[in-house]
Amino acid sequence: MFAYYLDLALRSMRRNKVLTALMVLAIAVGIGASMTTLTVMHILSGDPVPTRSGTLFFPQVDPNPYSDGPSLPYDMMDYRSAVDLWSAHRADRQALIAHGQMKLTAPQVNLPPLMVQVLSTTSEFFPMFDVPFLYGHGWSAQDDASRARVAVISSDLNNKLFNGVDSVGRTLRLKNSDVRIVGVLGAWRPSPQFYDVAGGRFAGGQTGDFYGRTEDVFLPFNSSSDINPTGFNFFTCWSMPRSDATLQTSPCVWMTLWVQLDSAGKVRSYRQFVADYAAQQKSVGRFARADNTQLRSLMGWLDFNHVVPSDVRLQMWVAFAFLLICLFNTVGLLLAKFLRRSGEIGVRRALGASRAAIMTQCLFEAGLVGLLGGVGGLLLTLLGLWLVRRQPVAYADLVHLDTAMFLLTFALAIAASLLAGLLPALRASRMAPGLQLKMT
């Protein structure tokens, strides 16, 4: 039966070569456009820490002493709140994060100095985020406390400075201080770079930079503030810093805290802990609002920041509208084709073919068009992704077709063409045998 239907379908397709080519092409471009944009969307909206994103949380408090501030808590915290929450050690793991830029030179390496992005954090950052190491390891809690001059570097920087050899134990000069490398990261390219995400709701949809590469140098927070005390980027301030303020005492938010909470009970009690902290800070007059706290999950935080750039979402909608147009087109053409063969179908019906058999045959043909369209669509998707990789966007190097998307391409193409073939097939199978015979 299978071979017979295949033969019939091939014959029919050969008979109207132009029409067949048009249908295959329409499916192929529709699938190519929608799969390209869907793949980009899939990559950008994925889970950056698949192993444990469900246990990672982002606490927020509102350290503003004035009650007329923004209605939602700031995307970052001030030094005191962040360090208070961190040093309470009430979560399974916790890490402080602050950003900055420093000048880097490597003694014995003949390269001009570089400006590098520095992530200042605490020891549990690496185990908490499941960060892979190529050489060495992260630093210890002891190093955090003793303000040790140690650093972890990215594999990119290791390749650039040391040609990729094991550089653990070597020295880097950051600003005017020497630090010893204790670890080199393996290939680590979370998408997005979730622990740096903040301020997405103010970005006006331009959030492509959340998908950039990781920082090149990771330092213990205390060591970093010793080496370059004024070198941190701040997010915003709620009032003008007094003239004797340091960054630590300034009325500015510039640090974030990530916590790992392994069970629902722990999430509940941590939420309570943050609320209690805010209430206590209000009672001593430091906060104006005790109720303005948040404990968002990792994925919730990414959603809140609209991390997927609005252009990417728009492109996906445009591509799906385009696929729909291609489908309407194919339905119309298939209908034309099947009804044109009404004579042939009438003969088959008169010779005893059941309605179901006619319908199956028509769907078989539609499915075959879908399969061919899928192959074309796959080629066009690869072309589309190649074009995306050449775009000047931070996520360009992340874009590739994975197996799931590869299979989805064919599933979508065949499903689309079967859907398109359903109505024409139904119509064809409904034809009365006698009438069609008389006409010819």
Binding site: D68, V331, V393
Partner: protein, 409 residues
């Protein structure tokens, strides 16, 4: 032309007719919105920016010793002035469209605080002496800063400089003090306050979101001395004739690297900065153009395919009409009118859909309202497309000889 027979025959082919109508409606809706998005991006890419974009190059110098900048900056500037062809040089903290944005919110009353909802967020440009010349700013009112103001301004611990003068752009002046002269007015963020001494033509901010809004020109300029700059004056702006720019930029980068062996230099022409800023916008625009073209092609092929099928199916009827006296023109007209009817229903639906999509995009994406003329514009293009694609099949129909009427049974 009698249209009743057309309705009668369309009623017989209800499903294909509906399909073509839906396809045209959707194509019309997508076309209107896509063309609107393209036009918005194209106008963003060409936003005005009142500096000498063709003549400016910049070398960013980072990692120099902050304690020595007081003597380093004048020395570096003197060296840059020595390059043949240089018209003006100065240091600034950032450049328009450089992504290096330093924003602050000011109020118009002395008691305004930064978190006040009434405060206005603006971008801050800190500039060294001669920056108006080096950037090519166009002064519209008042004056730029004098030597004393440059020398007296420095950074203390606050993120705002210790000075009391500011120059604002024309758009910002109009927005903050509508109908009044901005000169002599004051921006407050106590204990800092700045009095407007000059108004310049509109210069873009270092960064803004996906869509150009009324805030893109909210730029303000403050004088800053080299010694009190704490390293923020990192952009060396070098102005020259456009044809000399490339060479001068290379020489300038080399010179700065030689003079500051410990620092990191990065040279760019202003045109590159601008192009880079709008690169993803222009790639989005091209992608939309591509989609529109392919979409229209697919729609056209759909119309050709379906009409050809109808022509084939109606060969006998056409033959009969020809036999009883219809001219070729009548047959052509029949198919053209049929297409016009279908397209008209399609675009009527499509314009409604386009309007709906626009409303949705306004709510969920940073999109503005589509001007009304996009709707008839989209409708007209689909009418033309429909007529163009029906022409071939209609001609084929017109060439059916009358004798077919007698043959086929």
């Amino acid at each position: 032309m009698e249209i009743r027979p057309i309705f009668a025959s369309l009623r017989k082919h209800r499903i294909p007719a509906c399909l073509i109508v839906l396809e045209i409606a959707l194509a019309c809706a997508v076309l209107c919105n896509a063309v609107f998005m393209i036009s918005q991006r194209v106008s963003d890419i060409h936003l005005g920016n009142a500096i000498d974009e063709q003549g400016i190059a910049t070398v960013v110098l980072r990692g120099a010793d902050d304690k020595l900048v007081g003597s380093d900056i004048p020395r570096n500037l003197a060296a840059l002035r020595g390059i043949a062809g240089v018209q003006a040089v100065a240091v600034t903290s950032t450049l328009p469209l450089s992504h290096n944005n330093w924003g602050w919110s000011f109020g118009l009353d002395p008691d305004a605080t930064i978190s006040d909802k009434k405060s206005h967020n603006v971008s801050l440009y800190f500039v060294g002496e001669g920056a108006d010349q080096a950037l090519g700013l166009r002064l519209l009112q008042g004056r730029f800063f004098n030597g004393d103001e440059y020398a007296g301004s420095k950074f203390d611990t606050a993120p705002l400089p210790e000075t009391h003068v500011v120059v604002v752009t024309q758009s910002l002046a109009k927005k903050l003090w509508p109908g009044q002269s901005a000169l002599g007015k004051t921006l407050y963020s106590m204990p800092h306050y700045y009095t407007v001494v000059g108004v310049v033509a509109d210069v873009l901010r270092p960064a803004f979101g996906n869509q150009a809004g009324p805030y893109i020109y909210d730029s303000t300029y403050y004088p800053l001395s080299a010694g009190g700059s704490k390293g923020v004056l990192a952009y060396y702006v070098i102005r020259s004739a456009p044809q000399d720019r490339e060479r001068i930029m290379r020489e300038a980068e080399q010179k700065l690297a030689d003079l500051n062996p410990g620092a990191v230099t990065k040279a760019q022409t202003y045109s590159d900065i601008r192009e880079k800023y709008f690169a993803d916008m222009s790639s989005m625009a091209w992608m939309l153009v591509l989609v529109c073209v392919v979409m229209l092609a697919v729609t056209a092929f759909g119309i050709v395919g379906l009409t050809s099928f109808w022509v084939g199916q109606r060969r006998r009827q056409i033959g009969i009409r020809r036999a009883v006296g219809a001219t070729r023109g009548h047959i052509m007209q029949y198919f053209q009118t049929e297409n016009l009817l279908l397209t008209s229903v399609g675009v009527a639906l499509g314009m409604g859909l386009a309007f709906g999509i626009n409303i949705y995009l306004m709510q969920h994406y940073e999109m503005s309202r589509m001007p009304w003329y996009y709707l008839p514009g989209g409708a007209l293009s689909l009418w033309l497309l429909g007529q163009a694609s029906v022409f071939g099949p209609a001609q084929k129909a017109a060439s059916v000889p009358p004798v077919v009427a007698t043959r086929s049974v």
